[in-house]
Each structure stands twice: as structure tokens, then as C-alpha cells.
């Protein structure tokens, strides 16, 4: 391993570095405000009880071009429930969790917030609310410098997504700007729970091996045995979104109580954490299960 240094900012957030420090990180995602503010608070807290090491909180945007139907549904429910950027920050402040929180949203919301132009006011407010970083799926490295600078100013991390098609110069450009962790997109397409783990994941992890930054794999992970295989294959963390959002959606459709949905979110989290730990043991004993 050549351990290429990514940049001296690779760990703006101590808490994010910590999330990857002992064993594979379980990183769940939920859209904030889905289906309403109060339930959403309980759901996020259930994720922490289920073993989350870091939580990605989706701030819903009206045009989620990187999302499949599951998360699109969550975004519609959350927007209909009245979620706005200001409510989102209040939500972060109201949450009773200890793990680091990363905001996942689209660039227009970051760009428009606040009195002055550009991403700085949003980042300042995010830091004040206690967020530790951002994932912005429609912001490629080429357009990211203003946000990168604001993150550095306020001590937040900026996570980039690496796709199965990202290689060569593009990969270098991204790895020059990333901090916290890199989001390895497990396969092409949009978000959505899948039944199997793609070979594209292994190839991506291979290309990233020489970079010294935690690699979290997401897009399509829905069960403990996916988590196991992905971690055994070299991932430092697993990101799970649609499989959790499916549980929230099912709760809405079947009129389940908030507590019942929260219990299910906690249970699936435990299953995913257990899978990731099996993968980690397999990796250390050199047994690729």
C-alpha cells in the first residue's frame, strides 16, 4: 500500500475519523421529516440504538436526480410534511444522539440558504447545529471549491461519491478534495435496495486501495449478508439508505405506530452491524466468505 496522502484536511472532523476507528462503520441514511418531524426524530434515534457509527441525514430537495423511487417517495413525504432547511437545522439540534451526523442534500439548497450568496452561510449554520460533514450528489469535484473552502473554514468534512465509472484523472481530482470518507457507489444507477452485491464494488475498492481515506460502500445494501461480503471485500464502512426508507414507507402504508417502525429500524440495523462484523472477522482471518 502506497498510502497516498489525500490532503492535510482529510480529517477535519474528529468525530467522523472516530466512527471508522474501531471496526467497520455502519452508516444509515434517512430523509429527515419522513413522514413527519416527530416520527423522524424517533427513527434517527432508533438507528443509533441499533449500532450506527455515523448517520447521514437527508435534507429533501424537490429534484433528487440521484435517487431511485424509494428515496424519491421519502422526499415527497418529507416535503409534504413541511420539511425546510431551517426545520432541518432545528431537527439536528433536537436530536438526542452522540454519533456524528452528515448532511446529504443537493447543491441548490446549500447555495440558496442565507443572506449572502454561495455555500458559506449554510455551512456556518450546519456547523452551529452540530453537523460534521456533507455529501452532495450533484456537486462534482470541479464545481466544489467554494463548498470545500467553507467546510475547511468551519471544520466540516466534504464527502464525495466515487462511481464505478470514476477512474484516472477524475479519481485523482476527487481524492484531492475529499475528506472524512469516500462514498463508494456500489453500482451504476440510482439509489434503491438490491438483492445482490455487484462486482463493480470490488473493482472500485481495488482502484481506491492506494488512497488513505476510509471507504464506505453504498447503493443497494439491504441485508446482513451484503454487509458481510462488502466488508470482507475491503470496505471500511457500509451506507444503507433505501432498505431503511422502505421500512418507513411500509409503516406509512400499513399505518404502523411510530414505535413499531422504530423497533424495526433498530432490528435491521443490528442485523446489518452483525453482518459487517462477520465480514470484518473474515477479512482479518483471511477467509473471504
Amino acid at each position: 500500500m502506497s498510502n497516498r496522502a489525500v490532503s492535510d484536511r482529510s480529517g477535519n472532523s474528529e468525530a467522523i475519523a472516530q466512527a471508522f476507528a474501531d471496526g467497520p462503520a455502519y452508516i444509515p441514511y434517512l430523509a429527515v421529516g419522513d413522514p413527519d418531524y416527530e416520527s423522524s426524530l424517533e427513527y434517527v434515534e432508533a438507528l443509533e440504538r441499533g449500532g450506527a457509527d455515523l448517520i447521514e441525514l437527508g435534507l429533501p430537495f424537490s429534484e433528487p436526480i440521484a435517487e431511485g423511487p424509494t428515496i424519491q417517495g421519502a422526499v415527497v413525504r418529507a416535503l409534504e410534511g413541511g420539511m425546510t432547511p431551517d426545520r432541518f437545522f432545528e431537527f439536528v439540534e433536537d436530536l438526542d444522539v452522540d454519533v456524528p451526523l452528515v448532511c446529504m442534500t443537493y447543491y441548490n439548497l446549500i447555495y440558496q440558504w442565507g443572506e449572502t450568496e454561495g455555500p458559506r452561510p449554510f455551512v456556518e449554520r450546519a456547523a452551529e447545529a452540530g453537523l460534521e460533514g456533507f455529501v452532495v450528489p450533484d456537486l462534482p469535484a470541479e464545481e466544489a471549491d467554494p463548498l470545500r473552502e467553507a467546510c475547511d473554514e468551519f471544520g466540516l468534512d466534504l464527502v464525495f461519491i466515487v462511481a464505478p465509472t470514476t477512474e484516472g484523472d477524475r479519481l485523482d481530482r476527487i481524492m484531492d478534495r475529499v475528506s472524512g470518507y469516500v462514498y463508494v457507489q456500489a453500482r451504476l444507477g440510482t439509489t434503491g435496495a438490491q438483492d445482490d452485491v455487484s462486482d463493480q464494488t470490488a473493482a472500485s475498492l481495488d482502484r481506491l486501495r492506494e488512497y488513505d481515506v476510509p471507504k464506505a460502500v453504498g447503493f443497494g445494501i439491504s441485508a446482513g449478508d451484503h454487509a458481510e461480503r462488502i466488508v470482507a471485500g475491503g470496505a471500511d464502512g457500509i451506507i444503507v439508505g433505501s432498505a431503511l426508507v422502505d421500512i418507513v414507507a411500509e409503516g406509512v402504508e400499513s399505518n404502523r405506530s411510530t414505535a413499531a417502525v422504530a423497533d424495526r429500524l433498530e432490528a435491521i440495523s443490528r442485523e446489518l452491524v452483525a453482518g459487517a462484523e462477520r465480514g470484518s472477522r473474515a477479512r482479518s482471518t483471511g477467509d473471504p466468505s
Binding site: S62, I65, N108
Partner: protein, 477 residues
């Protein structure tokens, strides 16, 4: 046409607090003092028009966009392998170019100026859309792709892409909002007849904005063998520049034809703007001709305000009433609420019903080179009937907006006290004299066959002077 007050640039209700500046720029963009000096956004690269444009797309699409940028450079800009020669030949033989520049006698009389119509309605398929679709499907072939996908609003871009794909033997899938499928049935049949698959999009209000998002999602999963034929000068670089180049044939011809028939350049060019491909195509060759005024006519819909509570703008006037933001891969002018959520747009014409607009147009408006104006639903319908009845041309509802602008002209200050054209044969709106010169070229971007059902319904719901009685037709609907 009974309203005493002028309509097109009537009161704008503000979208946000700092709309004052927005409005003064929009109201008088030709005044250099009013056009803001565009400050470049630091730290960004690639495909910028002043502060607009760029490539705001998911990482999975970036390699495809880089590949396309390279293909655009080689085949379109450098004519590698004779690409542009083949494109022009197919536009002639398959498309029927050049389209005429026709002197419109009744309109000229009515408005007391020479009105010329650039007849894109006569292009194969019935709209300017084929220029771009043929160019991109051919490019996909040169790039070795096996499949094309497209979004469509009115169905015109979808039909153009389906025709071009059949002509060039490429499988084609078209994403179309469910609501648009219902209001543009004939185009759905045409696409199907040409062998394309039409996939309904149910998200949001089911119009163009959602169809673009859904096509981008398909592309994110299929980039390796698929080309996305975007339908207007929108999206990430290189689309805005490339689509403009394919559409520029409209103004290249019109400019040459004007010099041949009129003996000089026109004073004005008027074209309707949804995403802006017709507008950019109609303007491109005139951009350096400083004496030629360029008017981009947007859909004023029912009202120029934005309802933040409901997340709806009852118009599609992004240049005129929008604010800067990032949508579908580009920084441009958008209809959005104070938080940056994109609002649902509205227009009686499906093809103009979009919350964004091409980044180059946004830039040209800031520079004062292009004058944005808005024409509302009612006046577009009046113009539809006027052109049908007096010139024998049934225009697309989109194009009817451009025709309506002849009637209205701009009326920012001077116009408010002038008489709007009342009855047939009445004095034309004096305000039009303020903004339009002696010789006006109006692009008729498409023909209206696709709109007949909507027109019957919308006309029956209004009292439009000179329109035929629609009651006999409404029963079956």
C-alpha cells in the same frame, strides 16, 4: 382581447424580497446600466456562460459527459469524419431544410411593420426540434452508442427523437410526464408508430421537469451504451452549447434569407422560450449584429407570481421572473421558492412548461443582449386564433406566444396608458411600437396539430374575440 390594459409585461408579483433588482433588470435589460456585471463564480471550470452553466451532475454521469464533450469537440466543432456534412445533408433530405422565411401579409398590415415568419413548422415532424434530435442521434451513432433516451414535454422533442432514431436505426426510449401524455396524445401515438417506447413519469406534477430528472436517472445507470438526447439548451455542459449549435441552422438561414429578400438585416427577432432551444437557434447567427434586437418570449401562464406555500408558479417565465440557482446540471435562472426548492411551473403550452431555462440565455439576458418578455395564456390563445384565421397557419401554442408579442409589444412604462388592440381592425397596441422596429422576424417554432384538443378546451373556457364557436367540438372531450 377586451382587457384595456396591456398584458405581456404587466405587473410582476415578486418571487422574493430582492425582486426589485431582478425586475429592473428584466424590465429594461437593453439599458447597459441595468444589466448587472456578471461576477464569475470562483473556483469553477468548464462550459460557463458568464456565471451560468457548468456541470452539476452525479459522479456516475461525469465520465459520459466528458466523453460527450470530446465527441462534441471533434465531430461538431471540427467536422471529424465529415459529421457536420452528413448532418446537413440529412437535414436537407430527411428534414426538408431550408425552411422558408415568409412575409406575413395580414400581420404586416395589422401591425404596420413588415412581419416575416421563419417557418420551422414546415420542418419534418412539425417543429424545430428535429434539428437538434437528428444532430444528437447521429452523434450517438458516431460515438458508437447502441441506444438513445430522451425526455419530452409537449412530445415534440420525443417525436423528433423517435423519428431520427427510426431514420438512423437506433432503439429509442422516451420519458414523458403522465400529465403531458394526457394533453399531447397525438404525439404519443407518433412516437409509438416510429418504434419508440414511451415511458410515463408519475413523479411530481408529471411534466417536463420530472421527465428530465427521470431520464437523467436512466442515464446514470446506462451511460456505457446509451446517449441522452436532451431536448433543449439545458443540462450540463456540453449540452447547452451543442444543442444551440444544432439549432443555429434556423438563424443562419433566416439571416441569409433576410438579406436576400429584404436586402438588409431585420430590426428584431422574436422567438418563444421554454428551455430555450428555439430561442438560441433563432438568435445565434444574429448575436453579433448589434442593430438586431432579440426578444425571448416566455410563458406568463396565468399569473407571474410564485405561490411559495403551494410550491407552484402559475407561469414558466424563468428568465423574466426567476432567480439564479442550480437545476438539472446547470446554474441558471429558475422558478424556485425562498428555500431553493424548485416550484411547479405552468403554461397552457406543454412545451414551455419548465421551471428552468438555458444558461446561455440567462447570461445573454444579464448582459442586456436578449430581452425577456412574458405573454400569458389568454393572449397566446388569441394569437393562435389570429394566425390560424388570418394567415392560414395553425401554430403550436408555444409559437403562438411569440406571435402574441407582436400584439402586445413591450409596455414597461410607455405602454400602460396605451390602448391594447381591441377588435379586429382596431389600432394595434401602441406599445409594440416602442419595442419593435420596422422588420420583425418571428420564428414559428412548430405547427399546432398536436394542440388541437387543448385549444378546443381552452378556447371554450374563454371569451376569445374572433375565435370560432367551439361548442360543437367540446362534446366529445
Amino acid at each position: 382581447m377586451s382587457e384595456p390594459t396591456p398584458h405581456s409585461m404587466s405587473e410582476t408579483t415578486s418571487t422574493t424580497d430582492d425582486d426589485e433588482t431582478q425586475r429592473s433588470t428584466a424590465a429594461d435589460p437593453a439599458d447597459p446600466a441595468a444589466s448587472a456585471d456578471p461576477t464569475p463564480v470562483p473556483g469553477e471550470t468548464g462550459g460557463k456562460f458568464g456565471r451560468y452553466g457548468g456541470q452539476y451532475v452525479p459522479e456516475a454521469l461525469m465520465p459520459a459527459i466528458e466523453e460527450l464533450t470530446d465527441a462534441y469537440q471533434r465531430y461538431v466543432l471540427e467536422n471529424e469524419d465529415g459529421f457536420m456534412d452528413e448532418f446537413r445533408r440529412r437535414l436537407r433530405e430527411f428534414g426538408g431544410r431550408p425552411t422558408p422565411l415568409q412575409h406575413a401579409e395580414r400581420l404586416s398590415e395589422r401591425y404596420d411593420r413588415d412581419v416575416y415568419l421563419k417557418r420551422e413548422d414546415l420542418l419534418h415532424g412539425g417543429a424545430h426540434k428535429l434539428n437538434n434530435a437528428l444532430g444528437q442521434v447521429l452523434l450517438a451513432k458516431y460515438m458508437g452508442k447502441d441506444r438513445v433516451i430522451a425526455e419530452t414535454g409537449a412530445g415534440q422533442h420525443g417525436t423528433a427523437t423517435a423519428m431520427a432514431a427510426a431514420h438512423l436505426d437506433m432503439p429509442c426510449e422516451v420519458y414523458m410526464g403522465e400529465r403531458d401524455i394526457n394533453r399531447q396524445r397525438p404525439n404519443v401515438f407518433r412516437m409509438t408508430l416510429n418504434g419508440a417506447t414511451v415511458t410515463p413519469v408519475t413523479a411530481g406534477r408529471g411534466t417536463l421537469k420530472e421527465a428530465i430528472s427521470e431520464t437523467m436517472r436512466d442515464w446514470a445507470g446506462s451511460v456505457e451504451d446509451t446517449h441522452y438526447v436532451i431536448g433543449s439548451v439545458v443540462g450540463p455542459h456540453p449540452f447547452p452549447a451543442m444543442v444551440r449549435d444544432f439549432q443555429s441552422v434556423v438563424s443562419e438561414e433566416a439571416r441569409r434569407q433576410a438579406i436576400e429578400t429584404i436586402g438588409e438585416l431585420p430590426t428584431d427577432v422574436v422567438a418563444c422560450a421554454g428551455g430555450g432551444s428555439n430561442t438560441m437557434g433563432s438568435f445565434a447567427a444574429f448575436l453579433d449584429d448589434e442593430t438586431v434586437s432579440l426578444h425571448a418570449v416566455e410563458a406568463g401562464g396565468a399569473d407571474l407570481s410564485i405561490d411559495e406555500e403551494a410550491g407552484v408558479a402559475p407561469n414558466s417565465a424563468s428568465l423574466y421572473a426567476g432567480e439564479e440557482g442550480v437545476l438539472h446540471g446547470a446554474r441558471t435562472k429558475l422558478l424556485q421558492d425562498a428555500h431553493g426548492q424548485i416550484v411547479e411551473s405552468h403554461s397552457v403550452s406543454a412545451g414551455l412548461d419548465y421551471a428552468g431555462v438555458g444558461p446561455e440565455l440567462a447570461h445573454l439576458v444579464d448582459e442586456g443582449r436578449v430581452i425577456p418578455v412574458a405573454v400569458d395564456d389568454d393572449h397566446a390563445l388569441e394569437a393562435f386564433h389570429l394566425l390560424s384565421r388570418t394567415e392560414g397557419i395553425i401554430p403550436a401554442l408555444e409559437s403562438a406566444h411569440a406571435i402574441a408579442y407582436l400584439e402586445a409589444g413591450t409596455d414597461t412604462e410607455a405602454g400602460t396608458d396605451s390602448e391594447a388592440a381591441g377588435d379586429d381592425g382596431g389600432e394595434p397596441d401602441a406599445a409594440a411600437d416602442d419595442s419593435l422596429g420596422e422588420t420583425v422576424v418571428v420564428t414559428v417554432s412548430g405547427r399546432g396539430d398536436k394542440d388541437l384538443e387543448s385549444v378546443i378546451e381552452e378556447t371554450a373556457a374563454r371569451d376569445i374575440d374572433g375565435a370560432p364557436d367551439m361548442s360543437a367540438f367540446t362534446e366529445g372531450i
